[in-house]
Symmetry: C2
Subunit: 215 residues, 2 copies
């Protein structure tokens, strides 16, 4: 596998393609063209081919791609040919939604621990997982060899959680708290701001309104 710098937008599309391939595979489809992948995912055929070309040649000219082979290639590229153990910090609405989210398990993410510091939450169960006090975070991360932590605490608590995580073997953090975090560089950090998704929509609506050009 070559190491070009892969744009994040490409990684996101690979994820979308892989889901679509899983779906058509369940429907019994055996081979598929880039045009069909494009139509099924709302991406242009040229973009599909360009995205896949980053990772070498998969298809056979005139035949297209084997659905199963391409699916597994993509899963491997995305690092999903393994189970990732995940801990979720914060059992508020968002932490609860994330803990219950079926989509994680489907893609190989296993939530092994949920933590909160509210006495009324500690000891209750989410999806069969007991909510533990924050103090047990390091112990559970070590025990279950968790590699990924999801921060779903209020903004003002996020840096303190990040500092504690930096003392563990966690390799990556997904941060939902609207706060810029300082994290040692050996830990991968990704910030998710739920508003940003709305802002991409409003950017498009605002451009449409002010320009009325075909997009």
């Amino acid at each position: 596998m070559k190491t070009l710098k892969i744009p994040e937008a490409t990684i996101i599309r690979l994820s979308v393609y892989s889901r679509y391939l899983a779906q058509v595979d369940r429907q019994g489809v055996v081979t598929i063209s880039s045009g069909q992948i494009a139509a099924g995912t709302g991406v242009s055929p040229a973009q599909v081919r360009k995205d896949l070309a980053y990772f070498g040649e998969f298809g056979t000219r005139g035949v297209g791609y084997s659905v199963k082979d391409l699916y597994w290639h993509l899963i491997k590229i995305l690092g999903l040919n393994t189970i990732w153990s995940v801990v979720i910090i914060g059992a508020g609405n968002l932490g609860t939604a994330l803990t219950m989210y079926g989509g994680f398990r489907e893609r190989g993410f296993k939530v092994v621990g949920v933590f909160d510091n509210a006495p009324d939450k500690i000891g209750s169960y989410l999806n069969g997982l007991e909510i533990y006090p924050m103090e047990r975070m390091k112990e559970v991360i070590d025990r279950d060899k968790a590699q990924i932590a999801i921060i779903a605490v209020p903004a003002e608590a996020a840096q303190a959680v990040a500092d504690e995580l930096a003392e563990t073997e966690i390799k990556a953090i997904l941060n939902f708290a609207p706060r810029v975090l300082n994290i040692p560089s050996h830990i991968e950090l990704r910030n998710v701001d739920l508003s940003v998704n709305l802002e991409i929509l409003t950017f498009n609506l605002a451009s449409r309104r002010s320009l009325k050009t075909g997009k």
Copy 2:
């Protein structure tokens, strides 16, 4: 404002810059350089300048940008110089988390309605908003001139909700259900898959593991 095709990654960064500017503005900072914006947001200075250049010249050479002016420029570009009325369909964990999410209001999004079809949810309150039955969706969208709908229902219910929304004056849909939706082309659609964020992390972890090149 010119209409080049703006990459989505740029829009996302504009959103990040605008939050950072709001933060330094609260701290009393009056002018800022692209280097300082870069340092504060973890983006390269060249990228900051390139992103801002899409929208014309904001700064003064040697002085930098006025924090307030640049902030308001970005807010306008993002379409956030107005209040957007939003309805949320689905009052499960995710719908509840989204309804309670403080970050929306901060950015000009006002949730005006939450809908569910579970009898035990209808009539209860989230953040002062009564949960209405699905049947009242069109009425509320009309009444409050809601422009954006967030779909937070299970995958199998999502297309039916989208079909109902297509009969309303909704201009954009943010879809959290892991399902490809058919939507008339006059409605902007954006799909959010919470797993994708984890997959960008695992892609990076997997590349790091297989390559051990400095990134």
